[in-house]
């Protein structure tokens, strides 16, 4: 058994292949696991009490990890010293830091390898205890499940088919070995005397039972989550999505990761709805990422202090000394109560005042509004924004940025020079920052790039940025926004990446609905005199893919509003143009062409139409999951009854014909199970006669405690049948040549009916729904030592 659990664990190692990079990370893990299981196997050969096994294993792990991970500090390279222990702790810390700090797959550093090895050591000890000491090898499945969830949660690619199959095979091997060992403990197998056809029937019945049980399990697994709304798959993500506060500085886990997650989510639930005065609302910005480390855009840590506490007005953004012109626009936003909590508010840019319950802080530089508390779900708040959209002319006239700190043009030094060359080539000839920005955007939207939510992986060692820009040119808003911001910085334009949602879709009642599919990232570029303005490099992809509700602002489309609209889809003319240039036209469009909202789009239109009530998309099938769940639940409830009925049917069927002894035994077993079902006792110390004698008083209260109801004695004909069954069984057991007794089937039916009649209604119902005889602990155990007496 210890070796089987070793095989099982080793076969689970490939599961981690997707989350760890490198070639030899698995060697120490395999080594330590082998040692742990080997010690268990060796020790158990001695036949002593297995209590010390875990301690021996701990000892082994402690002594193995020293030469494996801290050989230089150790005495003779083997014995642990104080230095080596310190070194181990340090390596461990490094491993934790590298797992925390890097997106998967994690490079297999020393620390990571050690952590994996230690985890496997602990798992090996646990599985050894479960499978060998506790003799519950099924529980090892839980450990394997824990291993499986690591790549599932961390990595989008999930678990490879080969790794999953290997893990499953290992587990099955463990179970098979356990069954084999258990079988041997029972002694040698005695061939049963049944004829081949009965054996075949038994086998068919076994397969049918197993299939029915598995089918019911699969059915339930599929239907119950659909029927119960609170069990949706994304509830799982809510747990993984955390923001932690350390002191006054608030950091949140990668906004881009949550963006990717939302875009990848299969559902299209509504994140928020809002009502606005604006005719054409702008994007809703949640995060601003303004630092680029060469691979990822990250957020400067924001601080929550008394200075930044929002009380009424928000600070003015950089580049503005006073209120700009342009009327205030009020937007009332309701976050969906099913969505995960948002500690950063999605706000239109730029917000002048936010009225939200609770304490909120504003980052003066980026105008992000956030909280350090745990905000309630389903938050309602209102925001006042300045409705000001610059025109292309205005932007064209802006010169070099002077009113902004220079760090918005910082780039790490190790960038691929080919990207710089590309940028230089693009902006060649462009004079103003605005023209340069347009040129860069044009590069993305000009048709060279493909929008794909799951871009192919970057080959190992390649720079993701240059690979995206120059090689495969496939990606989604995160890559487009990030790449454009980098190139803009290279072109000496201050740039950063904003993450949030597009404006969403207008619903029939005037509200706008934003769904997870509207999650988006875009670059913001700074122009002197106009402040931060957004660009839209994400293309509408061919074949209906793409960030469906993305809109290109007029100033960014290159010709003042009437030109091409590379990023929009056919169905969304209402969502792209700027109200400042053509307010009247755009104001009409959403209402004038309501059908456009439901035109075929790549985005799912169901959430909008469902909440708007205007759906005409075929029959309403929403009852299906509920009905499926109900059917599944009924099936589950009826499962014991079905199994019992199947058993009864097969026994009754085997009564006619065949050996008289076997038939008598079968009838007697069925009688026993019926008695057990009805709540009666059944003692293995009772002879058939004594049983018949007792059962003939069944329900009278003289022997069997009646659960309920008045005594209803067993009818006389049932008693006679009972005695015939008992005598047949007795003869089959003890007579030299059992005499065949006819009419067993009728007797059985009469006896069972008589017992049921005497048992009372409550017992009858319980016997039908929850037959106790199916539970092995209710069954009388076979007489011990009988195996030795059978010839």
């Amino acid at each position: 058994m210890p070796l089987a659990s070793l095989v099982c664990l080793l076969s689970a190692l490939p599961l981690l292949g997707t989350v760890v990079r490198g070639e030899t990370w698995w060697v120490p893990a395999a080594f330590v696991t082998t040692a742990v299981c080997g010690i268990s196997a060796l020790y158990r050969l001695s036949g002593w009490n297995s209590l010390p096994v875990p301690f021996l294993q701990l000892f082994a792990v402690a002594f193995l990890s020293t030469p494996l991970f801290a050989p230089h500090e150790a005495l003779l390279g083997l014995l642990p010293t104080w230095d080596s222990l310190e070194h181990l702790a340090q390596v461990f810390g490094e491993g934790v830091a590298s797992i925390d700090g890097n997106a998967p797959p994690v490079a297999a550093s020393y620390g990571v390898t050690m952590i994996i090895a230690l985890v496997f050591a602990v798992f090996a000890m646990a599985s050894d205890f479960l499978a060998v000491t506790a003799r519950c090898p099924g529980m090892v499945g839980g450990l394997l499940l824990a291993l499986v969830t690591v790549p599932l949660v961390v990595d989008d690619a999930g678990v490879g088919a080969v790794a999953a199959a290997s893990c499953a095979l290992g587990f099955l091997f463990l179970l098979a070995v356990d069954m084999w060992v258990r079988g041997r403990e029972w002694g040698t197998r005695v061939p049963d005397g049944r004829d081949p056809s009965a054996r075949l029937l038994g086998r068919v019945l076994r397969v049918a039972t197993v299939s029915a049980a598995s089918a019911a399990a699969v059915l339930l697994a599929l239907t119950v989550p659909l029927a119960v709304p609170s069990l949706r798959s994304d509830a799982f993500y809510a747990m993984a999505d955390g923001a932690y506060t350390g002191g006054d500085v608030l950091t949140t886990t990668h906004p881009l990761v949550s963006l990717r997650r939302e875009l990848g989510a299969s559902s299209d639930r509504t994140v928020l709805t809002y009502r606005t005065d604006a005719e054409q609302p702008d994007y809703l910005r949640t995060y601003v990422l303004n630092e680029f480390d060469g691979e990822n855009w990250t957020m400067t840590p924001v601080s929550a202090s008394g200075d930044t506490l929002v009380s009424g007005e928000l600070p003015l953004p950089a580049g503005w000394d006073g209120e700009p012109d342009g009327g205030p626009v009020t937007t009332r936003i309701s976050l969906d109560s099913d969505s995960p909590r948002m500690d950063f508010l999605p706000l239109p840019y730029w917000a002048r005042a936010v009225d939200a319950p609770g304490e909120w802080y504003a980052d003066p530089d980026s105008l992000m509004v956030f909280t350090t508390d745990s905000p309630p779900t389903g938050l309602n708040f209102s925001v006042e924004t300045v409705d000001r959209v610059p025109t292309g002319d205005e932007l064209a006239g802006s010169g070099a940025p002077v009113s902004l700190p220079g760090d918005h043009r910082n780039l790490p030094s190790g960038l691929d020079p080919s990207v710089q060359a590309l940028t230089d080539g693009l902006v060649e000839g462009a004079e103003s920052p605005y023209e340069r920005a347009l040129a860069i955007q044009e590069y993305f939207t000009g048709g060279l790039f493909t929008y794909d939510l799951s871009p192919p992986g970057v080959p190992e060692g390649a720079d993701p940025l240059s690979h995206f820009l120059l090689e495969d040119r496939v990606g989604y808003c995160e890559q487009f926004a990030g790449a454009m911001a980098v190139m803009a910085r290279q072109a000496d334009i201050p740039a950063r990446v904003a993450v949030g949602y597009t404006a969403g879709e207008r619903m029939g009642d005037g509200r706008w609905a934003v769904t997870v599919g509207d999650a988006h990232a875009w670059p913001e570029l700074y122009f002197e005199g106009a402040g931060w303005v957004r660009f839209e490099p994400t293309p509408a992809a061919s074949g209906g893919e793409g960030q469906g509700s993305a809109t290109v602002p007029d100033y960014a489309s290159g010709d003042g509003g009437a030109g091409e609209r590379p990023a929009e889809e056919p169905g969304g003319p209402d969502t792209e143009s700027s109200p400042s240039t053509d307010p009247s036209e755009d104001a009409e469009e959403p209402d004038a062409s309501p059908g456009a909202d439901e035109a075929p789009e790549d985005r799912e239109t169901e959430p909008a139409s469902a909440s708007g009530g205007g759906s005409d998309a075929g029959p309403d099938l929403s009852w299906l999951p509920a009905a499926g769940g109900a059917v599944g639940a009924l099936l589950l409830l009826a499962l014991p009854a079905l199994a019992r009925a199947l058993l009864r049917w097969s026994r009754t069927a085997s009564l006619s014909g065949g050996e008289p002894a076997a038939a008598a035994h079968t009838a007697w077993r069925e009688l026993r199970d019926t008695c057990l079902d009805l709540g009666g006792p059944w003692a293995p110390t009772e002879s058939p006669r004594a049983t018949a004698e007792r059962l003939s008083r069944f329900g009278t209260g003289t022997d069997v405690p009646r659960p309920d109801g008045v005594p209803a004695p067993v009818p006389a004909e049932a008693v006679a049948a009972l005695w015939r069954l008992a005598l047949a069984e007795e003869s089959a057991r003890y007579a030299p040549a059992p005499t065949g007794a006819g009419g067993l089937r009728a007797d059985l039916a009469a006896a069972c009916a008589g017992l049921a009649a005497a048992a009372g209604r409550g017992a009858r119902v319980r016997a039908a729904l929850l037959p106790r005889s199916l539970a092995p602990w209710h069954r009388p155990r076979p007489a011990r030592d009988l195996a030795a007496t059978t010839p």
Binding site: S687, W723, R724, R733, Y734, A735, R784, L786
Partner: protein, 330 residues
Amino acid sequence: MSLGTHHGGRGGGVQEDVGEIVAVADRVRGAIETVIEGKPEVLRIALTVLLAEGHLLIEDVPGVGKTMLAKALGRAVDCSVQRVQFTPDLLPSDITGVSVYHQDRREFEFNPGPVFANIVLGDEINRASPKTQAALLECMAERQVSVDGQTRALERPFMVVATQNPSDMEGTYALPEAQRDRFMARVSVGYPAPQAELDMIDSHSSRSPLDTLVPVTDAAQIRDLTDRVRAVHVAPGMRRYVVDLVNSTRTSPDLRLGASPRATLHLVRAARAYAALDGRHYVVPDDVQALAVPVLAHRLLPAPEAQMERLSPEQIVAKLVARLPVPGPQ
């Protein structure tokens, strides 16, 4: 336990030979019941012991009909019956018989004692000296008498029915365990039910009902029947069951002395006879269960702890029986 008293208890395959046993037993039973009423279980055990070629120990207070039972049994079977009243001065030769020298013929002549009979009734066996008891018990076990270096076999059937009075212990020599072991079964007659006692007043008022008892069978037939009883089938599981039961008396913490291997043989033989009396040609657990107390209890010595708990050997045996699983389907 009422066996086969209703619902066709004899339906388990009546065969020709056991059928005759049932018929004879019914006749004997009917005859004895004219004398002793309301004690079917005791009668049944007595018949079982007769057919199983064992000896019976009747243990009870005086006056409940111990002697009457033994006499009636002897009378119902047409065979020789001898009665020995055991007293402290009884000598072994009073039981086995003596060789007497005939002056005229100048030779020794053997005068057989009362043990030379088919049914020997030993009254108040615990009043005799151990030496005398031992002489009787030797005959019981070996079915032969050795006098003056000559061994004489006893006739079949040979059954000793001994009575003993447990309450009056003054001047008695209680049977030691080794000798109790030679009795196949011990029964107590017990007081009759009120109705039976009423009937008894009527039947015993005029004259002894024993006088009107006519024999319903004879020794030859009983011999034949005992041969048939030996052929009653004991399934392997049943043998194991008996061994397990006897074994459990040896391992039980309640008992100081368990049952002997002879007890195992006695139990199997008695079970055969009991099954035959029920019209069956095979033994079922119910036979063994019904016989466990009569066959085993008198051989056991309870442990001091059990004695302090006032657990009688009968109760301990019943407990062991209730705990042992019956043999299941093979």
